[in-house]
């Protein structure tokens, strides 16, 4: 399972000689895993993916996909990858089936094989009933599923997904996650995806690279990243509010205890295992726990820790907000 499907070494892209979009990035993607690039808009996620799928030439550094050099063996790379782009690229004038067959033609798949696969894929993404309808009549979720089917027509060994759930509603997003999980399980496929949704990275990815300003800040499994922050937080209240800080501190795996406004805030590793021990210890001494809450650190905190800003509060959005306010002001006067 440790075979490297993608390996990037010092991968760099500079636009117009001074705009560094991706800055000496190193990472590996192992066989059969879902690897996620997490970062705000403009962090260099799409630029990285575009280099890996041979749309952009790297300015410096190299990367290989299934052993093929992305700069020198681009045709070999293109044959073994599938791409689900950020935009809806299906031709609106054609039907769903026609679009999939067009993709098949681009890979030179014989018509007979292509038709079989198309039926199979339409079933997988639940579009069989709509295959003869023009794509112009499709909803956003249906289009995204069609893109997914197109990206799979050549039975790729790696599937690249660029912001696969951008602009989808919560329901459709969850459904899309299910398709992606099915792909991983059913086909043992390796997936490389970019996202700026923390929940998405958390629930889908086996490993995450957090990217900011074109640099990878940290790589790890979502669990590892969360644990690197120092574990879970147990908040509890005790009847009559006695001072038992030292007692709790003595419990195994407890790292830190703070008393705040009549309740205790305990930092502990493996919170779900440690919490019962804490209660047990307190009860033995005759204290009654009246309230307990267990919070796991979220990726948002991880993100905050490593990039120094919250994902939802990036500079871009602040600027966009200001621009919007300016427009509104101008419209009013």
């Amino acid at each position: 399972m440790s075979e490297e499907i993608i390996k990037a070494e010092g991968l760099t892209k500079v636009f117009n000689k001074h705009l560094v979009a991706v800055d000496h990035v190193n990472f590996e993607v192992k066989k059969g895993e879902i690897f996620g690039f997490l970062g705000p808009n403009g962090a260099g996620k799409t630029t990285t993916i575009n280099m890996l799928i041979t749309l952009l030439r790297p300015t410096e550094g190299t990367a290989s996909v299934i052993g093929f050099d992305i700069a020198k063996q681009h045709d070999d790379v293109r044959n073994v990858i599938g791409v689900v782009p950020q935009e809806y690229t299906a031709d609106e004038d054609l039907t769903g089936l026609e679009n999939i067959l067009l993709c098949a033609d681009l890979y030179g798949i014989p018509r007979k094989v292509a038709k079989e696969r198309a039926e199979e894929l339409l079933k997988l993404v639940e579009l069989t009933d709509f295959k003869d309808k023009k794509v112009a009549t499709f909803s956003g979720g249906m289009r995204r599923r069609l893109e997914l089917a197109c990206g799979l027509i050549n039975r790729p060994k790696v599937l690249f997904l660029d912001e696969p759930t951008l602009g989808l509603d919560v329901q459709t997003r969850t459904a899309t996650w299910e398709y992606i999980k099915t792909l991983k399980k059913g086909f043992g496929m390796t997936l490389f995806m970019t996202t700026h949704y923390l929940e998405e990275a958390d629930s889908l990815c086996d490993r995450i690279a957090i990217i900011d300003h074109g640099k990878i800040v940290v790589v790890g499994t979502p669990e590892d990243l969360k644990h690197s922050l120092g574990g879970d937080v147990i908040t509890l209240s005790i009847k009559d509010d006695p001072d038992v800080t030292e007692l709790i501190r003595g419990v195994e795996n407890v790292k830190d205890v703070k008393k705040e406004n009549g309740s205790y805030r305990i930092k502990a590793e493996n919170g779900e295992v440690t919490a019962p021990f804490v209660i047990e210890t307190l009860r033995k001494k005759g204290y009654i726990v009246t309230r307990l809450m267990l919070t796991e650190p979220t990726l948002n905190e991880v993100y905050l820790e490593y990039t120094g800003r919250s994902l939802r509060d990036t500079e871009e959005s602040a600027e966009a907000f200001r621009a919007q306010r300016m427009t509104m002001r101008r419209a009013r006067t």
């Binding site: 782009p85 950020q86 054609l94 067009l102 033609d105 681009l106 030179g108 197109c150």
Partner: protein, 312 residues
């Protein structure tokens, strides 16, 4: 390591797949294609019929008295008595002058026959210009990027656009030619239905060259506005600095210089040779040689640029 491709597509596969996509698109919206033909048809009807050059030079437009007196000094040798000529005879003479001027300058006896086949060049030009626009749209909609991430050759993208423009233009040329015949186009005595195939070949050559030029201009562009501006800037000058409406021989030298390198002139001449002119095979050969060279050079440049610029 896996083999590079289990299906091993040929270069032609991608060309065919992409051409088929475009054909399907226009077969689904035939109205757009018909609309595109409307403009040259309107020009043909208004301009071609209103500008009745042959008739302008005819006797009917002159005030000739029934009897003309010609004073003595104009006639050599001088005679004492004035000579009288019948006005009707002069009128008759002038009536024949119009068609004769037309025949000498335009090569056909009526202006409509001259310009209506020129409209085929007109539609070819418009169609190729919009092939540049279509690649801009493909880029904007992300379709181009999707194609670029497949093993389809970059050249195939350009070639399929060229084919599409050519097929469109040939179809539209057929409609225009048929309508022109209905409106009174007079084919020459050397016309043979097989000439239509020659006409298609000439249309294809100009399409290949011109759409390569416009595609090359559009390769890196994401703004269809830019493309539109280029089209508007180029199309009328290119049209008027050619033999589409007027014969080159009557133009000032500097326009003649442009018209003689303008490929539109050669397509128009080839079409006229094949339809309304008395066929002159040597000039037809030259037209084809020029169009062939033009197509070869510019499609080569277009494909070469696509290799260089479709991947940033």
């Amino acid at each position: 390591m896996s083999t590079s491709n289990e299906h091993n597509p040929s270069k032609f596969h991608g060309i065919w797949a992409l051409t088929k996509r475009e054909l399907k698109k226009w077969l689904k919206e035939p109205l757009i294609l018909i609309m595109a033909v409307l403009q040259p048809v309107i020009w043909m009807g208004l301009f071609g019929k209103a500008m009745n050059l042959g008739n302008m030079f005819s006797g009917g437009n002159l005030n000739i008295p029934s009897v003309l007196q010609i004073s003595g000094s104009a006639i050599v040798p001088p005679q004492a008595n004035p000579v009288y000529i019948s006005g009707a005879a002069v009128s008759q003479m002038f009536s024949n002058l119009g068609p004769s001027i037309m025949q000498n300058i335009f090569g056909v006896s009526d202006y409509f026959s001259y310009m209506s086949v020129g409209m085929i060049s007109f539609i070819v030009m418009f169609t190729t210009m919009f092939s540049g626009m279509s690649i801009v749209w493909d880029r904007r909609l992300g379709f181009l990027n999707k194609v670029l991430s497949t093993p389809v050759s970059r050249g195939a993208i350009i070639v399929s656009k060229v084919f599409n423009a050519s097929l469109r233009a040939m179809f539209q040329a057929t409609i225009i030619l048929a309508l022109a015949v209905v409106f009174g186009l007079q084919v020459s005595s050397t016309f043979n239905p097989i000439n239509i195939l020659g006409l298609y070949a000439a249309v294809f050559l100009l399409c290949a060259g011109l759409s390569s030029v416009f595609l090359a201009l559009a390769l890196r562009s994401t703004k269809w506005e830019t493309q539109m501006a280029i089209v508007n800037l180029i199309n009328l000058p290119l049209m008027f600095a050619s033999n589409t409406f007027f014969p080159i021989s009557q133009m000032p030298d500097w326009i003649q210089a442009i018209a003689r390198v303008n490929p539109i002139s050669y397509l128009t001449d080839a079409i006229r040779q094949l339809t309304v002119y008395q066929l002159d095979s040597s000039s037809l050969m030259f037209d084809f040689a020029f169009l062939g060279a033009f197509a070869l050079v510019f499609s080569a440049i277009g494909i070469a640029l696509s290799w260089r610029y479709l991947t940033k």
